[in-house]
């Protein structure tokens, strides 16, 4: 048996096609003007706009363009990004007036027929600098709804076995687990525009996600947080949160279902009886 690795090459016609497609994707095709919001609250009296012109290609995302601007034109540009593939939610910003992830939006698509792209920091979030915003209160709101499974401490400290969950029970909350906390929903929410204390679509949808989880036993504890003046009843179903969500979480649906759940609870209905822990094989073996 030979130990030589077999060299694998693409057939020449496929290779040529791939190179051609790649060249086409990154070939500069258009000049686009970027209007970027510049503001440093520690130094500046008021924000101002800066304009940069870039040659963009078909495959270029807004984040690529911003990195090019930061590297070659204006190194003082403040922004936040991390994974570059729509998983971390750091680069959410207002692109032509709508909340989007910079890493998932292509420049050509955002510009459309025009050649100007306006970039602003997320609305309803305090500005740290330029396009970067402060998420402290956003995360505090998320923490306020207790986004974890609430059970008796004895069972959590010394688990006796796994919890049983059917696919139907799983389907009730799976959609909401996709949230990446990018803040686009709170930024698009018209209620949050005037109410700083409003919990917001993200936190309320997460509250619903844990309320309908069959393993959870925190119904009363969590409803005490969301069924308040700045809680779920401030939502008037403008639907913008679901419209801008880059992960298809649909927070508006979660909030409306949460309201229905609270009303049904007022009539004595509970969403579920928390499942029992199944006897684990390990525990049985230990006993033996």
């Amino acid at each position: 048996m030979s130990t030589e690795a077999k060299e694998y090459t693409l057939p020449p016609e496929v290779l040529e096609e791939t190179v051609k497609a790649s060249e086409e994707l990154w070939k500069p095709i258009k000049k686009v003007k970027f209007r970027i919001y510049k503001y440093n609250p520690k130094k500046d009296y008021a924000p101002h706009w800066e304009e940069y012109e870039l040659e963009v290609s078909k495959g270029m995302t807004i984040l690529d363009a911003l990195l090019e601007i930061k590297g070659e034109k204006d190194h003082t540009l403040g922004m936040r990004y991390s994974c570059r593939m729509g998983l971390c939610g750091s680069c959410a910003m207002m692109i032509n007036g709508k909340q989007m992830l910079a890493c998932q939006t292509r420049v050509i698509e955002a510009a459309g027929d025009g050649d100007v792209i306006e970039l602003r920091p997320l609305e309803n979030f305090p500005v740290t600098r330029d396009l970067a915003t402060d998420f402290t209160s956003f995360f505090e709101k998320h923490k306020a709804v207790k986004p974890w499974i609430i059970r008796d401490e004895e069972e959590l400290d010394n688990p006796t076995g796994p919890y049983k969950q059917t696919i139907e029970e799983y389907a009730k909350y799976y959609q909401f687990t996709d949230c990446i906390k990018c803040g686009a929903c709170l930024s698009a929410c018209p209620t949050a525009a005037t109410d700083y204390e409003y919990l917001g679509p993200q936190a309320l949808a997460q509250a619903y996600r844990y309320l309908v989880d069959s393993r959870d036993n925190g119904l009363d504890e969590r409803i005490a947080v969301v069924d308040v003046a700045h809680g779920c009843w401030r939502c008037h179903f403008a639907g913008s949160c679901s419209d801008v969500c880059p992960r298809g979480v649909d927070p508006a649906q979660g909030i409306q279902l949460l309201k229905g759940l609270i009303i049904r609870r007022k009539f004595g209905f509970k969403p579920h009886k928390p499942t029992e822990a199944l006897p684990a094989k390990i525990a049985k073996k230990k006993e033996q």
Partner: protein
Amino acid sequence: MEEAREEFVEYYAKNMGGVLGWFKARVYTIERWLYGAHRITGILIVLFMLPHFYSTGWHPGLWGDFILGIIVTFHIANGIRLILAELGFVVGKPLLVKKPSQRPLSLEGSQRYLVALALLLFIVLAVIWAYYALIVQAATW
């Protein structure tokens, strides 16, 4: 002066949408437009109620009456849609499998038909009211 500067800086640093944020509907879906319209009509109805409670004999006049009726009919039609949606009847079920670019079910599922129904109800009620206010009622004046 220094205080004024701080307030000014605070305004920009907070970056809140403010009351105008309610009406930034251009880039969003039709529900956002309806939200803005529902707010305005609600505020106008409250404004009408102030003189109305002060003296129930007060009347906004022929055209005022007509406009008030249109405002109220919109608020009723959209209000029925909101009650049904906010109790979770038409927003659909959470999905177990999503498409790569999944659009929200709460907006583009059966709720969209309800939007159409609400607007239709508004138009029907508004036409009936216009006929009553501008033709039947005006004849008795």
